[in-house]
Amino acid sequence: GTPATPTTAVQPTQPPQTGQQPTQPPVESKGPPFTIGISNPFISSEYRTQMIAELIEVNKEYMAKGLTTELVIESADTDVAGQIQQLQNLMAKGVDAILVNPSDVNGLNATLQEAVNKGIIVISVDQELNVPGVYNVGIDQKEWAKTSAKWLAEKLGGKGNIVLIEGFPGHPANVARMEGVDEVLAQYPDIKVLAKDTGKWDEATGQQVMSNFLAAYPNLDGYWTQDGMAIGALQAVIAANPAKFPALVGEGRCQFLKLWEQVLKDRPDFETIAVANPPGVSPTGLRIAVNMLLGKQVDKSKLGGANGLSFVIPVPIIITKDNLQQGLDICKDKPDAYLLDGIMTDQEVLDAFFLK
């Protein structure tokens, strides 16, 4: 039969008993090694490739200790239906926990619910979902955006003309971030937002949009952008080569830091900020999952979010002109596309989120 345990009362570490049909994953409390599944519907981004690579890396640690088996990774460019298929395949493979980076705010709800009902620990990484029983692990997107928005507002002395380049409109992370930006800007009535456009989270579009803006508003005071689009935007500024660079927001990618360093050679007074958006939240999520599977008790008081199921990971690093060198040092032996990152250690995870 199907499990009837109400999801709200689920104790993830004590999954409900179910029948022994061969089609059902073995869900009764069992010991290690555990199998953890990953569902990622979008591979055409460096964030995601770094995320997958780090997950594999961190899992090796646990494999060595005999706590987990090899990860079951479902990762391909696909749509909502495709991700539902990914999740179903993971369930069919009998995984003990699923880390999912969702492609849609509500589209996976029923499927994830099904997984939760099967006693699988489901963790949504990077993006917050509002599904009973599904945990979230990620940074606070709103706070993340506020950090750089505040920096920009202060750099402009509280007044000036700016433009905004956002990611995919309506994407949950983007919505949260833009809310944060709006909140900050609301405190600076003299900062005027001339225009806002989507850079679709990619460099080329960001570059195009910024080029358009620079042509339309040659005397721009500053701009706020996020993630991958920041490199494109900065490239556009360099190409346009205005007398005075607008104050601008950057991103935590090695490529950006190197560009920053380069610009400084010509314009020593150039300033920007890079707030890391760490793919490392996923491996951190993996650590949380493993510890939950091992029966460690989560300290509910440390969780936030609508359902009280969100693990909020602190932003690992913020680079300003003061610690640029630190960032560049990290980047020394890293590929250009590397995103400044932070993966919490097992101990840090235990200290931060679990009952002693």
Binding site: T49, E203, S211, A216, Q235, Q255, K258, K334, A337
Partner: protein, 322 residues
């Protein structure tokens, strides 16, 4: 009595000019400032360069007829951009090697497309669509280790920067003009080009006039691949960075640019000048809608409507009743 008619590329250019002039009156337009207007116009043309180059191969395969189309162009752009990026590693003297690699890899992929289309008689649409998936697969295989590389200063200098501080014409535009001239040479002043038009109109006539239809068809897909490869090289020179989704956004606009430029989608008639004009029109419309702060929904609808109008004007087919 001669009917008043206007050639499609000219129509596209006129449309572009009219749109641009109108854009001046928009709230965020250039207004009366001639310098801003010039800057804006230059910028739009500069942005059109990359679309224009990528649409070059598309122009060729569409001219070759038999429902010719290249849906793998987007992923080839990404692939060669990544290859350029990792080959150059910031060193000027590797740039030529990277260019060569881009062209050869693009040509190889195009060649495989051509083999499937000419010998296995797979429809170009399906063949190049499938190939696009394969190339995307290759990109992921190459990219998963997080590619490490860098474009060379000379690439940035030659592609992304203006000619000189005093002459604010971006080099990209100059490259495009030279490229356009070469494309013209190929299409209008070479035997290959003449044969290409011939197979696009009528393959039987072409064969009976001594044209090697098979070889020409194979060559055109190979060349289209190489041109997409060149597009990838240029694009990475402009962005300075690579990422997996670099080329895909260029794919459908590249087909639209060809259509707007008046190249007959059934093959046998068209020009690269038209495609250049088409690329400018599309870039202009996109940028106009951006300036007008139109939401994405309106932008897409306007783009769709524009295309529909353009093809209604010169894309009609013959009716059954004569």
């Amino acid at each position: 009595m001669r009917k008043f008619s206007i050639s499609p590329p000219v129509a596209a250019i006129l449309l572009a000019i009219v749109l641009f002039l109108l854009s001046g009156f928009l709230p965020n337009g250039y207004g009366s400032d001639i310098n801003v207007a010039i800057a804006q116009a230059t910028n739009i043309v500069r942005l059109a360069v990359f679309l224009g180059v990528i649409a070059a191969g598309q122009t060729l395969v569409i001219i070759s007829g038999f429902e010719g189309i290249d849906l793998s162009a987007g992923s080839v752009v990404t692939l060669t951009a990544i290859l350029t990026y990792v080959t150059v590693k910031g060193e000027d003297d590797k740039v030529l090697l990277a260019l060569l690699i881009s062209l050869v890899v693009g040509a190889l992929i195009g060649f495989v497309n051509g083999l499937g289309i000419t010998f296995l008689k797979i429809s170009p649409f399906v063949m190049t669509l499938g190939m696009s998936g394969v190339v995307t697969g290759l990109i992921i295989i190459i990219n998963h280790g997080n590619v490490s590389g860098k474009v060379a200063p000379i690439m940035t200098r030659l592609i992304a920067r203006p000619l000189s501080p005093d002459i604010p014409i971006p080099n990209a535009i100059i490259i495009w003009i030279i490229f356009g001239f070469l494309m013209w040479l190929l299409l209008e002043r070479s035997t290959f080009g003449k044969h290409l038009f011939a197979i696009g109109v009528n393959r039987v006539t072409a064969k009976l006039s001594g044209v090697n239809v098979t070889a020409t068809n194979l060559a055109v897909y190979t060349l289209a691949g190489a041109l997409a490869g060149f597009g990838g090289f240029l694009v990475v020179g402009n962005t300075g960075v690579v990422f997996i989704a670099l080329g895909q956004p260029f794919l459908f606009p590249s087909i639209a640019a060809v259509a707007v430029g008046g190249t007959l989608l059934s093959g046998g008639k068209g020009s690269y000048w038209g495609t250049m004009a088409g690329a400018i029109v599309l870039t202009l419309i996109t940028s106009l809608l951006t300036t007008m702060q139109m939401p994405d929904s309106v932008r897409r609808m306007v783009l769709g409507a524009t295309l529909l109008v353009m093809i209604s004007i010169y894309g009609r087919q013959r009716g059954f009743r004569q």
